[in-house]
């Protein structure tokens, strides 16, 4: 989206907006590399420790694997573009480009920029929803899997690699204006204006500062709570579920139930597939409902397109001439055709 805004701005002669767009796009590529690999490493760690990658059979891993949980949460927050981390910085640049486009570009790209702006916001919300679900279902709550597979924390070197990536995410988040020095030479190749003249300079420095402020404030609040509770009694007990006594892990919100309201909202885009079995009697002996959302693009667009193409090709192959007369006929027709077309 960033590159798109950049190109549109270049075509309408607004180098400043273009510089922002390309800077955002390029920085996001690096950031994406960081937090996506962090999330995958964490997923690998979870897979190694618990033996399965089925989200509905995980849960409560944070107790046994606190450091992996921390890294995964940092990764999740980064990918959702939340402030103290690097995801936000690059998305911030793209937003700046979009806002710049909204303010200064001619009317048609302007309205496109407004649409893009709203869509990016909605996507940001959905991304944080998706990764909140992932973090919650995997690491938080009580363990859903049977007792014997007790997950252990992964060995140190795995944690180290994840830690480094998480630190990098936070580092870029707080880096602020130093990023400009890195980005500027690259962006200069795209647009004449240097990043320093655009809004990015002021923006990035303050974003870095305020992210630092956020981390500082959070730390201060953490200390104050600890200080407040030092003389108070801190008890632990079962989760207060409005008094319901027999709480089992399976009663927790699973990943699919967490996503269910969202699927409802986007029902006619996602087109969820629902399998229901079991009798519909008043007290059915066994009832099973399973619902999942296969990727609609693949199901309706790519699938039929490819199979259709393959069938068409094989039909063409069968219809191929096999006798030598038809070979010569082909030459004859080409000859007459071309002569007629070019001479007639």
């Amino acid at each position: 989206m960033g590159a798109g805004v950049g190109l549109v701005a270049l075509s309408t002669g607004h180098p400043a907006v273009a510089a922002l767009g390309f800077a955002g796009a390029l920085l996001h590529v690096t950031n994406h590399a960081l937090f996506k690999s962090l999330l995958f490493l964490a997923a690998g760690a979870v897979g190694k420790a618990s033996g399965t990658l089925q989200i509905d059979r995980l849960g409560g891993l944070a107790r046994r694997m606190p450091r992996t949980a921390l890294c995964f949460t940092v990764g999740a927050a980064a990918i959702s573009g939340l402030p103290p981390l690097n995801g936000f910085v690059s998305e911030f640049l793209v937003y700046l480009a979009l806002l710049g486009a909204i303010v200064s570009l001619p009317v048609v790209p302007q309205s496109a920029a407004v649409l893009a702006f709203a869509v990016l916001a909605c996507v940001g919300g959905l991304a944080s929803a998706c990764f909140a679900k992932a973090t919650g279902a995997i690491f938080l709550g009580a363990r859903r899997s049977p007792e014997e597979a007790v997950p252990q924390e992964v060995p140190a070197e795995m944690q180290l690699s994840m830690g480094v990536l998480a630190a990098a995410c936070l580092g870029i988040g707080l880096a602020g204006s130093t990023l400009i020095a890195g980005l500027d030479p690259v962006v200069r190749q795209f647009s004449a204006v240097s990043l320093r003249e655009t809004a990015a300079l002021g923006g990035l420095t303050l974003v870095g500062a305020l992210s630092a402020a956020l981390v500082g404030a959070a730390f201060a609040a953490w200390l104050s709570v600890r200080w407040l509770l030092r003389r108070r009694t801190v008890k632990t007990g079962p989760t207060w579920v409005c008094g319901y006594p027999a709480v089992q892990p399976s009663m927790q919100t699973t990943a699919s139930s967490f996503a269910q309201p969202l699927i409802l909202v986007f029902k006619n885009i996602l087109l969820p597939v629902r399998h229901q079995s079991g009798s519909s009697a008043a007290f059915p002996a066994a009832l099973a409902v399973e619902e999942h959302c296969p990727d609609p693009i693949e199901r309706f667009l790519l699938g039929p397109g490819v199979t259709g193409g393959a069938v068409a090709f094989s039909v063409a192959r069968q219809a191929q001439p096999k006798r030598v007369q038809s070979y010569v006929l082909a030459i004859f027709i080409t000859l007459v055709g071309l002569l007629w077309w070019r001479l007639g």
Partner: protein
């Protein structure tokens, strides 16, 4: 000096709003209702209490309220209060940082809710996430409209200074305020979208997420919620009352505006009932449409 006044007003005033709203609802219900300063007493009481943590929770549960309060506080640093008090930090693009800080706060609260492992908190979290995903476009479209109208992308320059916007974009401003009010109601989980007073698990959204918090954590959450209400209110108030005045005049105007805002909020809460869960997305999409229309009108005006 003005920054100090800004911080003081921002830190002290918000709990009063909650008190006013509850007082208005009580008046509607024909009862005296809790004293206006009730929230201050609650906060003071909670801060001096101990805390009970569930066995299934981890450090994330403790970090939830802390991070959400910190994020809301930093967001406050970006928001100018009325015409007179510019925000301590203002830079092009702070509108984005403001919105995403609120998103961070929400993310932290949701994670804390999921950590408890109770199905109610999970349900509340999933609803909160769904509604906010739909509210964000409305908020961002309003920001776009304001940016377009005021040709700037920083809260301070949008909201303070000569607000000559009314006569130029009259209708658009009205729609903007409508959309922003709806967003504020959704974000602060007021009646039409969520019921802050209920304890019936099936209906709660925001309340259920903070079920398991206690002591200082609960205090932080309540204080954070009031701050958020105050911030969103500041935007609406400044748009609703765009009059010019001297600095003290602005401050007085702003405080009065907020009180009116709180009363209006209370009136809305007592005259509406909570909507069915599947109606809420429709209302939020309506809010986005309002904001989009506002943008369209402003686009025409700006380019005409």
């Amino acid at each position: 000096m003005r920054a100090a006044l800004h911080l003081l007003l921002f830190l002290v005033f918000p709990p009063l709003l909650m008190g006013v709203i509850n007082r208005v609802k009580a008046a509607f219900a024909g009862r005296r209702g809790p004293p206006v300063l009730q929230l201050y007493f609650d906060l003071w009481k909670l801060l001096r209490k101990g805390a009970v943590y569930s066995t299934t929770t981890t450090w994330i549960f403790r970090a939830g309220p802390v991070v959400s309060l910190a994020a809301t506080l930093v967001a406050g640093l970006l928001m100018p209060l009325g015409g007179g008090l510019p925000a301590p930090f203002a830079f092009p693009g702070d509108v984005i940082l403001f919105a995403y800080l609120l998103a961070t706060a929400r993310f932290a609260t949701v994670l804390a809710a999921l950590d408890t492992g109770s199905s109610f908190e999970g349900m509340g979290a999933s609803r909160e996430v769904t509604f906010s995903a739909l509210a964000e476009p409305a908020l961002f479209l309003s920001i776009a409209a304001l940016a377009l109208a005021r040709q700037s992308i920083s809260w301070t320059s949008i909201l303070s200074g000569q607000m000559a916007a009314w006569h130029l974009f009259g209708p658009a401003m009205a729609m903007l305020i409508g959309a922003l009010v709806l967003v504020a109601l959704a974000e602060n989980s007021r009646i039409p979208f969520d019921d802050p007073t209920t304890h019936l698990e099936l209906t709660m959204v925001h309340e259920v997420m903070i079920l398991d918090h206690s002591g200082p954590d609960l205090a932080m959450i309540l204080y954070g919620a009031s701050l958020k209400l105050f911030l969103l209110g500041a935007i609406v108030v400044r748009l609703a009352f765009p009059f010019e005045a001297s600095v003290p005049g602005h401050v007085a105007l702003f405080v009065a505006g907020l009180l009116v805002y709180a009363v209006v909020m209370g009136v809305i809460e007592s005259t509406f009932a909570r909507l069915r869960m599947d109606r809420i997305p429709q209302i939020l999409i309506a809010a986005s449409v309002f904001a989009a229309l506002a943008v369209a009108v402003i686009l025409v005006r700006v380019n005409a």
